[in-house]
Symmetry: C3
Amino acid sequence: MTMPAFVQFLDLLGVAVFAISGALVASRKEMDLIGFGLMASLAGIGGGTLRDLLLDRPVFWISEPAFVMVCLAVAVVVYFTAHVLQRRLTVLLWFDAIGLGAYAVLGAHLALRSGASELVAIVMGIMTATFGGLARDVVSQEQPLILRREVYATCAMAGASVYVLLVSLGVPPVAASTAGFVAGFSLRALGIVQKLSLPTYKARPGRPHDDPPPAS
Amino acid sequence: MTMPAFVQFLDLLGVAVFAISGALVASRKEMDLIGFGLMASLAGIGGGTLRDLLLDRPVFWISEPAFVMVCLAVAVVVYFTAHVLQRRLTVLLWFDAIGLGAYAVLGAHLALRSGASELVAIVMGIMTATFGGLARDVVSQEQPLILRREVYATCAMAGASVYVLLVSLGVPPVAASTAGFVAGFSLRALGIVQKLSLPTYKARPGRPHDDPPPAS
Amino acid sequence: MTMPAFVQFLDLLGVAVFAISGALVASRKEMDLIGFGLMASLAGIGGGTLRDLLLDRPVFWISEPAFVMVCLAVAVVVYFTAHVLQRRLTVLLWFDAIGLGAYAVLGAHLALRSGASELVAIVMGIMTATFGGLARDVVSQEQPLILRREVYATCAMAGASVYVLLVSLGVPPVAASTAGFVAGFSLRALGIVQKLSLPTYKARPGRPHDDPPPAS
């Protein structure tokens, strides 16, 4: 498979699985069908839209209606089938994890191709992998996944870093992308299944947790 | 009236009524005068700004200060007069509805003119009609209108779809715009007055509403 | 000091102090190290990113990795040292105040240089000074500083206005920038120390505070 074709595959995969996660949030909030379409689109194309704006590329779904069609089709299918799922939140987390892995690699790849440095490419991978889900959670007033204890942004960083590292070592892009995706997704899987988390900052014992919220 | 003049009229109308809705939210939150200006600007120019960024057009209010002036004038007027309103939330909903209708048509029109497909144009209409109000509600920590039960994004879709359909049938743009605006606004009026809503997704009876929130 | 050098200094200063405020929010939320990096970057480069998108300039941190490096370095330092602070929220407010002053002037300067009118330049100053902090607070589910009682957006307006006024009077840009920064920062300092606030909108006595939230 050539890299441009693989990029397009990753883009479509990321859009589809993030769209599913968005539609599942719509089902948790008991929205109507149009709300499903909106949440699926927001989650599905949000991250890639931010990426294209930052890199000053044409926004990917404007000239290629297939992406929006995928989001809307996903919305309709989920609207009529979500009730067969035993645990919608768990399914949502897994689809979100696939999207996280795909978009981390894709964001880093497109940033590198735009001439950005390795560090900026990794940051772009993290941002575009997390933004669609973040917008989905902020708009629907769910707790952002990014604020939860188990590894999340870390997985996007791992995926983007593996990709950037392998490419800089001369590994062919498709192989490097696949490795990056597997790295990011596997780490996130550990986060979901094992509640894997990094050590979090703790206020020192004997000190107050933090100053009280200011009167305002 | 020529279409460019009509477009400018719709833009100014949309900005003014969304600005009013933003200033009314500021009054509900008891902000100071600067807060009124900020919320009026955010709601007034938010949707059009997103539209112009996505379509890679120059952001409309940067080169034409009249739009910002309208927002600030609205903020001052609302600051000193909002107390005469019996029910500020109701007034807010109606002005928001006018903006929703105007921006749905306008977003679709500008997307078509940029060469986007019909489907993308409708999505653009929905996004630009709902984004200013969404930003307004997220920033001020109000429940987004888009999450409420009665039709909302649906109305933007109806307005944009009617416009796109009529234009593709050869109807002159000004007539098609007017019809689109009337369609979107009327549907939203039914939503406000009759609490019209589409059927929402329901978890199947006998199943839990959803899995419990995860421990985190 | 030449203006371009001074602009770069203000940009780096703004990024660094906003990054500190973002990392301190991460510490209040007890995030892990990656969360610190993400919040530092979001707060640090958020405002300038919005500014560059609106003015159609290349996004400043894409081609210059030093800005992202500063954010990440800040994140690491704050992760290991925040516990020595007695009152993290107070420290956060002061760093946020420095950033507010620097970015208000910087946003106005770059808008003027892009050919925008004085009014638009002041609005751009307000937006870019407040956006990074706003994104930081929305994502981390803190109450946005902009919603608090004491002067906040007002300070950005004051700083940007002083800069724009002095430049239009022929004052050299570096002097005008310094005066603008001092004006914005001093006013915000009064807000923090004296709880200085503008009169807020009040629902009229004898009337209900506002209509009840709608059943939905």
